[in-house]
C-alpha cells in the first residue's frame, strides 16, 4: 500500500512541476505576442500617448519577470488578480465560466462515457458482426465531420426547423437546472458525437486485446457464459486503458470546446481564453491555461491512480 501511495505522490509531484512549467511557457508566450493589451484595446484609434498611458495604468511598464513572480505570489494566496481589460476579478470571472464549462462537460460525459463503454463492449463481443461494422461506420462518420458543421446542422433541424431546442445556449447564474439542461442539449450532443466514437473504439480495441489472452480461453473452457467472460474476466483487466481513454476524452471536453462555445454562444472558459489571447489579457490567459493544464493533469493523475489501483500486482504485493 505504501508503495502505491508513493507512486501516486510521485505522479502528483510531477503534475505540479508540469503545471509550473506550463505557466512559464504561457507567460513567455503571451509576452511574445505582437503588441500588448494597450494597443489591442485601443485598436485603430491608438495614439502613442494613449498606449503609454494605458500601459502605465495597467502596470505593464513593470519588467516581465517581476510581473510573473508577483503573479505567482498572488496565485499562491488564491488571488488570480484582475483582468487588465476591464478590471474585473478574474477568480470571479473564471468561477462562473468554469462552472458552465464543467456543466457542459459533465452532461456530455455522462451521456457519452456509459454509451461508449456499452457500445465498446458489445462491439468487442460481437466483433465483425453487422452491429459492429455499422456502429463502427456511424461513429467514424461522427468524428469525421468538423464540429462546427455538426453544430450548424443540429441547429438547422432541432432549433430552426423543429424548434425543440434553443439555438443559443446562453446560461447564467439564475438559470434553473432543467432549463440549463435543455439549453446545453445541442452542444452536448455535438460534443458527444465527437468523443463517443473515439472512446468506443478504444474500449473495443482494449477488450479485444484481452480476449486474446490465455485466461479468457480458460474462462471459456470453464464453460463460463460469454457475457460473464467479458464482464468478469476481461473488464477488470481493461480498466487501466479504459480509464486512460476516458481521462483524455474528458480533458478534451473541458479544454477543446472553443468551437462549440462560439457556435452556441455558450459562456465557457474557451471563449474567454481565446478573447483574452486576442486582447493580450495576460492574467486571464494565465489563469485559464492554469485551469486547463490543471484539469488535464488531474484527469491523467486519476487515470494513473485507477490503473494503479486496478492492478492486482501493485494492490497485492507478494
Amino acid at each position: 500500500m505504501n508503495k502505491i501511495l508513493l507512486m501516486i505522490l510521485q505522479r502528483f509531484g510531477l503534475g505540479l512541476l508540469t503545471l509550473f512549467v506550463v505557466s512559464v511557457i504561457i507567460f513567455i508566450g503571451v509576452e511574445f505576442l505582437p503588441g500588448d493589451i494597450a494597443e489591442a484595446l485601443l485598436g485603430q484609434g491608438a495614439s502613442p500617448e494613449n498606449v503609454a498611458a494605458l500601459r502605465k495604468k495597467l502596470g505593464l511598464d513593470v519588467p516581465a519577470h517581476t510581473r510573473y513572480v508577483n503573479w505567482w505570489l498572488n496565485v499562491i494566496q488564491g488571488d488570480f488578480g484582475t483582468s487588465l481589460a476591464n478590471g474585473r476579478d478574474i477568480a470571479e470571472l473564471i468561477r462562473v465560466r468554469l462552472a458552465n464549462t464543467l456543466f457542459l462537460a459533465v452532461v456530455a460525459a455522462s451521456v457519452s462515457v456509459p454509451l461508449a463503454i456499452l457500445f465498446g463492449i458489445l462491439a468487442a463481443l460481437y466483433r465483425n458482426s453487422l452491429y459492429d461494422r455499422s456502429v463502427n461506420i456511424i461513429t467514424l462518420g461522427a468524428v469525421s465531420a468538423p464540429e462546427f458543421l455538426v453544430a450548424y446542422v443540429l441547429i438547422l433541424y432541432f432549433s430552426v426547423t423543429l424548434g425543440w431546442f434553443p439555438s443559443l445556449s446562453n446560461v447564467d447564474a439564475d438559470t434553473s437546472f432543467f432549463e440549463r439542461l435543455h439549453r446545453v442539449t445541442l452542444p452536448a450532443v455535438t460534443l458527444t458525437g465527437v468523443i463517443l466514437a473515439y472512446m468506443m473504439r478504444m474500449v473495443r480495441a482494449s477488450i479485444i486485446n484481452l480476449l486474446a489472452s490465455a485466461y479468457i480461453e480458460m474462462a471459456h473452457l470453464k464453460g463460463m457464459p460469454k457475457l460473464r467472460v467479458i464482464i468478469r474476466h476481461a473488464l477488470p483487466n481493461a480498466w487501466a486503458p479504459i480509464a486512460n481513454i476516458i481521462a483524455i476524452s474528458l480533458a478534451y471536453l473541458v479544454v477543446g470546446v472553443v468551437v462549440v462555445e462560439v457556435v452556441f454562444i455558450y459562456p465557457g472558459l474557451g471563449q474567454l481564453m481565446v478573447d483574452s489571447v486576442s486582447t493580450r489579457d495576460i492574467p486571464v490567459v494565465q489563469a485559464c491555461s492554469m485551469i486547463f493544464a490543471g484539469t488535464y493533469i488531474l484527469l491523467n493523475l486519476t487515470a494513473d491512480i485507477v490503473s494503479i489501483c486496478t492492478n492486482p500486482r501493485l494492490l497485492h504485493p507478494k
Binding site: 481589460a85 441547429i155 438547422l156 432549433s159 459562456p267 478573447d275
Partner: protein
C-alpha cells in the same frame, strides 16, 4: 435650443434640395423631403410603400437582442468603447449631454440647452436639474465636468482624447458648464454626443468610469462582458414617454454570424445587428423577419501614402481611382448594402455631402493617366486583411483584376490580423482600411486630412484643405460651412490619396414584432446606438 431648431430646418432644407435634384433619391431623403413638406412621417412612408408598417410605439415588453461587436474584455469605461455592444448598452443606462437625433440633428439630453459665443469658442451648457443617478445620487455639474475631463489631459486613456483635444478649459457657472475651445468649433455640441462621452458619477472630482450607475432610462441589472447584459426600466427616469418603450432588455453577445442569424430565425432573439450579408437575400424571404438598413458614413478607405512612389504621382492615383469597380465592390463585398463612394471620407449622411461629386469608371481615361504617369505595367503591393473590414481580401482581389486591366499589377499581401492597426495601417504604402462614422465632418477631417493630423494615413499636405477645414470649424453659418466642406471633398477626391469605392450601410434584422421609427439615426449602427430606448416591441 433655438439654434438646434434652426439647424434642423437648414438640414431638411438641404435634404430637400438633394431630394429634388438627386436621381438616386433615397428613402430617408424622401421622408425628410416629405417631412419638410409638412406631411406626417407615417404618411410619408406610406407613400414610399416600403416594408410592412410598424404602428406607433407601444410601451412594455421584454426585448432580446443578439449583437455582434462584443468582447469578454469589454469594459464599462466609455473611454475604451470600440464597438456596438457597449455603445448601445451604455446609451441605454447612461446619458450624454447631447444626443444625435434620428434625423441626425442635435437633441438635448442632460444639457437642456446650449449657446455658443459668436466665435464659437466658448460654449455654455445648461445642465438638466433634478436628475438622479441610479444609486440615488443626484446629477451635479461636477459630474459633468469630471465626465468631460476623463477624456482630456496627458494621462487619459480615452480613445476620444483626440475628439476633446480642442478643449482648453471646462468650468462651472451655477447650473451651467462652460467649455472653452482653442479655436472656434460650430460642431462643439456634437462632441458631447459622441458615444465615448457618457455622464458618469464623479468620485471626489474624478469620474468613476466603471460605475454601473448612470442617469439613463434603464438600470444596468446584470453585466457580463462579452456574454450578455440585462436592463430594467428606470422607474424615475427624467426622459418622458418618448423613449424606453420596452420594460426590459436582454442583450446577448453573439459574435458568430451564423449563430446570430439562426438565433433570429429560430425566434430566440428579436433583434440582431450585422446580419451576414451573404445570406441577406434569403433572410429577407423568411416570414416575419424585417431588414432595417440605414446608409451610414462608414467609409471603406484604401489609403495610399502620398510620400511613397508611385503613389506620389497624382496621375497614377487618378488612374487607380478611375479603374476602381465601385458597383462591383458594393455588389460583391457589401452585397448591395452600400452607397457609391467618391474617394473622399465624408459620407452621404453629412449635410455637406455633395452627391454631384462622382468618380466614374473609365478604363480608357485611366490608361491615359497611367501613360501620362509613365507607369504602365508598374507593380504595387496592396496590404489587406479582413480585420480592416470584412471582405477586404475579396475586395483586394476585385481591385486586382480591374486595375490589372489598365496595366497596374497588384500584388496582394495577406497581412496578419493581429496588430494590423499598429504594423500595417499608417505604415505600409497602400492598404485596406475603414473609417467609422463620425457625427460631424470636422472630426474626420481634422484627425486625418490636415497636414499635421495624428492619423494622416494618406500623408496629404494640402494648404487649401488645411485652411478650409480650420475656418469651417469656426464658421457658424451653415450654408458657408457646407460650401467649404464640399470644396474639401472636391479637392480630396481629385488629388487625395485615398480610394473610397463605397460608403457603408448599417444593416440590422428584426422580428416584425419590433417597431422601428421610419427615420433612424445613421451616426452609428443600431439607430446611432440608441435603439434600445428608441425601438419598441409590439
Amino acid at each position: 435650443m433655438k439654434k438646434s431648431k434652426i439647424e434642423q430646418i437648414i438640414h431638411q432644407d438641404t435634404v430637400l434640395k438633394q431630394a429634388l435634384n438627386d436621381p438616386r433619391i433615397t428613402r430617408r431623403d424622401f421622408l425628410a423631403f416629405a417631412g419638410a413638406m409638412g406631411l406626417s412621417a407615417t404618411m410619408g412612408s406610406a407613400l414610399w410603400s416600403g416594408r410592412a408598417l410598424a404602428a406607433g410605439p407601444t410601451r412594455g415588453g421584454h426585448m432580446v437582442s443578439g449583437l455582434n461587436g462584443a468582447n469578454t474584455s469589454d469594459s464599462l469605461d466609455s473611454g475604451l468603447f470600440i464597438d456596438t455592444f457597449m455603445i448601445c448598452v451604455s446609451r441605454a443606462f447612461r446619458d450624454s449631454l447631447v444626443d444625435v437625433a434620428q434625423d441626425n440633428s442635435m437633441e438635448p439630453a442632460l444639457a437642456e440647452s446650449w449657446e455658443a459665443s459668436p466665435d464659437a469658442k466658448v460654449w455654455r451648457f445648461n445642465i438638466r436639474q433634478g436628475v438622479e443617478f441610479h444609486n440615488g445620487k443626484s446629477l451635479t455639474t461636477d459630474d459633468v465636468v469630471a465626465s468631460i475631463n476623463m477624456h482630456r489631459g496627458e494621462d487619459t486613456t480615452s480613445y476620444a482624447k483626440g475628439v476633446f483635444s480642442g478643449i482648453t478649459d471646462v468650468r462651472v457657472d451655477g447650473n451651467t458648464v462652460i467649455v472653452e475651445l482653442a479655436d472656434g468649433n460650430a460642431d462643439c455640441p456634437a462632441l458631447f454626443g459622441d458615444y465615448h462621452f457618457n455622464i458618469v458619477p464623479a468620485k471626489d472630482g474624478v469620474a468613476d468610469v466603471l460605475s454601473p450607475h448612470g442617469t439613463g432610462p434603464y438600470l444596468l441589472k446584470e453585466y457580463d462582458p462579452g456574454v450578455k447584459t440585462t436592463l430594467d426600466r428606470n422607474p424615475n427616469a427624467w426622459h418622458g414617454d418618448g423613449v424606453a418603450h420596452a420594460d426590459s432588455h436582454e442583450v446577448i453577445a453573439i459574435l458568430d454570424d451564423t449563430a446570430r442569424q439562426s438565433a433570429l430565425i429560430s425566434g430566440s432573439v428579436d433583434v440582431i445587428n450585422r446580419p451576414a450579408l451573404k445570406g441577406i437575400a434569403r433572410l429577407k424571404k423568411v416570414k416575419g423577419i424585417n431588414i432595417v438598413d440605414v446608409p451610414s458614413n462608414l467609409a471603406f478607405t484604401h489609403p495610399m501614402r502620398m510620400d511613397v512612389a508611385p503613389f506620389d504621382n497624382m496621375d497614377f492615383r487618378t488612374a487607380l481611382k478611375l479603374s476602381t469597380p465601385r458597383q462591383e465592390f458594393i455588389d460583391k463585398v457589401l452585397f448591395g448594402y452600400g452607397a457609391i463612394g467618391n474617394d473622399q471620407p465624408l459620407g452621404p449622411q453629412f449635410t455637406s455631402y455633395n452627391p454631384d461629386l462622382k468618380v466614374d469608371y473609365d478604363l480608357d481615361k485611366a490608361k491615359h493617366h497611367l501613360k501620362k504617369a509613365g507607369l504602365e505595367g508598374v507593380k504595387i503591393d496592396l496590404s489587406a486583411s479582413d480585420t480592416s473590414y470584412g471582405g477586404a481580401m475579396d475586395a483586394a482581389q476585385i481591385f486586382q483584376s480591374h486595375w490589372g486591366k489598365v496595366g497596374v499589377n497588384v500584388n496582394i499581401i495577406k497581412e496578419p490580423q493581429d496588430g494590423y492597426w499598429n504594423n500595417v495601417w499608417n505604415v505600409k504604402p497602400f492598404c485596406t482600411c475603414y473609417w467609422g462614422a463620425r457625427p460631424v465632418e470636422d472630426m474626420i477631417l481634422s484627425i486625418a486630412y490636415l497636414s499635421d493630423s495624428p492619423w494622416n494615413d494618406t500623408v496629404i499636405k494640402n494648404a487649401k484643405v488645411d485652411e478650409l477645414v480650420v475656418s469651417a470649424r469656426g464658421e457658424l453659418d451653415k450654408k458657408k460651412r457646407i460650401a467649404m466642406y464640399q470644396e474639401v471633398q472636391q479637392i480630396i477626391s481629385a488629388e487625395g490619396g485615398t480610394i473610397v469605392p463605397a460608403f457603408g450601410t448599417d444593416v440590422a434584422a428584426t422580428q416584425d414584432t419590433i417597431g422601428v421609427a421610419d427615420q433612424i439615426g445613421g451616426g452609428w449602427e443600431m439607430d446611432g446606438g440608441h435603439y434600445l430606448k428608441r425601438w419598441w416591441k409590439a
